[in-house]
């Protein structure tokens, strides 16, 4: 076991390489997912705020049509 971790004396260079790669890739992924979740939550909140107004206006104006 200790032999495996020493990596023929190069453990001090190999493990930091893999650890850094894992940490940075995981951090970027999690930050991206968290940002997506919070933006989606904000979108739902705003939609709920804007929707009542929109329904009233829809009676007078032309329908919104496609949501593009």
């Amino acid at each position: 076991m200790a032999e495996f971790f020493s990596m023929g004396g190069y453990g001090a260079y190999i493990w930091p390489s893999y650890a850094m790669t894992a940490i940075i890739l995981a951090a970027l992924l999690l930050a991206s997912i968290r940002e997506l979740k919070s933006t989606e939550a904000m979108f739902e909140r705003l939609k709920a705020q804007v929707a009542p107004n929109k329904n009233k206006n829809n009676n007078k104006e032309t329908p919104d049509g496609d949501e593009a």
Partner: protein, 240 residues
């Protein structure tokens, strides 16, 4: 391709593909890491230190791949004004920057025991450092304008101009004297590396690629949702 350029349709496809990319990434990393540490042999010259290659080389490839993707998307955005191209380029930049940083950092950790130095100012290392700065510049320029469209345009031009660095990186080991070894996988006449080392490298390279697609999908979805938030805010201001 036009079918996928529609953001609404893209969101549907992205939501479908994303879990597959996530599963594939986890699986490939599990297999790739196992191969890197257990099936791959130590190098006859470099000993166990050669295992750094299985993260260093995929990171460097992806650093360049992401830049090429970003430059291509920027070109499409400038020429055809595709609604998704700008978003894809913007979403790629931080991922490419992370890969490039990792290739520099792991290269440094590999260089110390093999070359006896963390860093040399030779063509390969310097051009890779410039690639990293190009990503940083791209991201900084994007946020430097009050007008989002101008920021997108300026950074797209920077991405295109910076693409000239890519062939310089690729051929730097042939054009200049360097400590860095020349290409041993992507070269004329096929790879000169033993299959026992080539396979772990390829599995790790594909794992890095599916990771990129996974994060790219998440980031594009975030950008598109942020666009919808901006539209709703405008509606709120003008409606209220």
């Amino acid at each position: 391709m036009h079918r996928f350029a529609n953001p609404t349709r893209f969101l549907k496809i992205a939501a479908f593909i994303q879990p597959w990319m996530a599963g594939l990434t986890v699986l490939l990393f599990a297999v790739g890491l196992y191969m890197s540490f257990f099936t791959a042999p130590p190098d006859y010259q470099q000993g166990e230190s050669v295992r750094i290659m299985y993260v260093h080389v995929p990171a460097a490839w992806m650093g360049m791949f992401c830049y090429a993707a970003m430059a291509l998307a920027s070109a499409v955005a400038l020429i055809w004004k595709h609604p998704l191209a700008d978003v894809a380029a913007k979403a790629t930049a931080p991922v490419g920057a992370a890969f490039t940083f990792l290739s520099l950092a792991t290269g440094s950790l590999w260089g110390k025991p093999m070359w006896g130095t963390w860093w040399v100012w030779d063509a390969r290392l310097t051009s890779m450092l410039i690639l990293f700065f190009l990503y940083i510049g791209y991201m900084a320029l994007q946020g430097a304008f009050d007008d989002r469209a101008r920021g997108a345009k300026a950074s797209a031009v920077l991405a295109l101009v910076g693409a000239v660095n890519l062939p310089i990186i690729k051929f730097s080991v042939d054009w200049w004297n360097t400590l860095h070894q020349p290409a041993s996988v992507i070269k004329m006449g096929g790879p000169s590396i033993h299959p026992d080392m080539l396979w772990p490298l390829l599995v790790m390279a594909v794992a890095f690629k599916t990771y990129y697609v996974w994060v790219l999908l998440v980031r594009i979805r975030q950008e598109l949702t942020a666009n919808k938030v901006r539209i709703l805010r405008l509606k709120q201001i003008h409606g209220g």
